[in-house]
Amino acid sequence: MIITLQAQPIEQKDLDNQAQLVALAKQGDMQAFESLYRLFSNKIYLLCVRMTGRPALAEEHMQDAFIKAWKALPNFAGNSKFSTWVYRIAVNVVLNEQRKNHIEIYADQDWQQAFEDELSETHHPQQIDLEKAIVKLPAQARNVLLLHDLMGMTHEEVGDTLGIASGTCKAHLSRARVLLKEQLDR
């Protein structure tokens, strides 16, 4: 299983701190929630950028995700990590938007430049090419690839999230990988 979004080793004391922050935020402590925002906003933002291909849109979605997270916090049972829970919220925010306003990326020169600028501080050129190739995938193939290969969800979880059968999910993933490789080989 691949869990790139959580690939950094997390120390126990960090998890304890997070648990404390979550507990405080659940009680309505806005400062604790701000700390959680500071911890996860960069990751959530990248997830949204990957799903939308548009930094401005990703910014809106990231914001909506944290607003929804705050509202849903009292019901957060702690059965999963807070990070996993908030990623799911962000994914749902983006998917809902995609269902309402399905927009494909028009990968013109301006878009490429803006996208590269957004990633230039954290990615080397080959990684930027890979990110661009991911974003240019058809929406469903892209979503499956992101949820499975980058977020580490199982096919069943991806299927539940996207509302498709797990067999369909496997087919989309296979297609996404082929298309991705073709783009990278060009």
Binding site: M62, I67, N96, E121, R177
Partner: protein
């Protein structure tokens, strides 16, 4: 669907590249907007309890519209019932008269006045919430504190009136607090 398949080696190489991607990029700081939205929703009486349905797209616009409509309707009914209150130029004096002549005004009139002021203010809060939502700018902390103080004072006067329901001075002060709140809200919204 394409019939092509990657070999196991190609798949592993691709997954390895994906795994090596950074897991975060510098996000624009949206905390102040998030905080402002949450506070605006809280101020407009939004239910800040769990919204566990992550799929639902309950926009702020959807939230304030029925609330504002209800406030307008109730306000219109109340104004129809106690029309002198409606005239803004003589509003304060008319209200004062209303509460300084207890022999001609019943408790229900006072209660209706308070109810209409509350509804009017809730309408302004709804509008303010919408404006904050649209502008993405938070409310000035000093203004927020003033509104908080006014609501606190209202609660105190309302509590005192429960003990002394016929105290005209308390009634007058309670109404003044609602008026001040409304004037402040009008200023913010303008």
């Amino acid at each position: 669907m394409t019939d092509k398949q990657l070999t196991e080696q190609e798949t592993n190489a691709l997954i390895e590249r994906l795994q090596q991607l950074p897991d975060a990029i510098e996000a624009p700081d949206r905390w102040s907007q998030i905080k402002a939205k949450l506070e605006a929703e809280s101020a407009t009486g939004s239910d800040t309890n769990a919204d566990n349905d992550q799929v639902k797209q309950a926009t702020h616009r959807k939230f304030w519209q029925p609330m504002a409509a209800a406030a307008v309707l109730a306000l219109a009914v109340t104004l129809y019932t106690i029309s002198p209150w409606q005239q803004s130029s003589t509003e304060s004096s008319m209200l004062a008269e209303t509460i300084t002549e207890p022999t001609t005004q019943s408790h229900s009139s006072f209660n209706m006045t308070v109810a209409s002021l509350q509804l009017a203010n809730s309408q302004y809060y709804a509008k303010l919430g919408y404006q904050l939502d649209q502008s993405q700018v938070g409310l000035d902390p000093a203004v927020r504190q003033s509104l908080k103080d006014l609501r606190s004072a209202q609660q105190q006067y309302a509590g005192a009136l429960k003990q002394q329901p016929n105290d005209l001075q308390l009634q007058q002060q309670l109404i003044e607090m609602y008026q001040k709140e409304r004037h402040l809200l009008q200023k913010i919204i303008a």
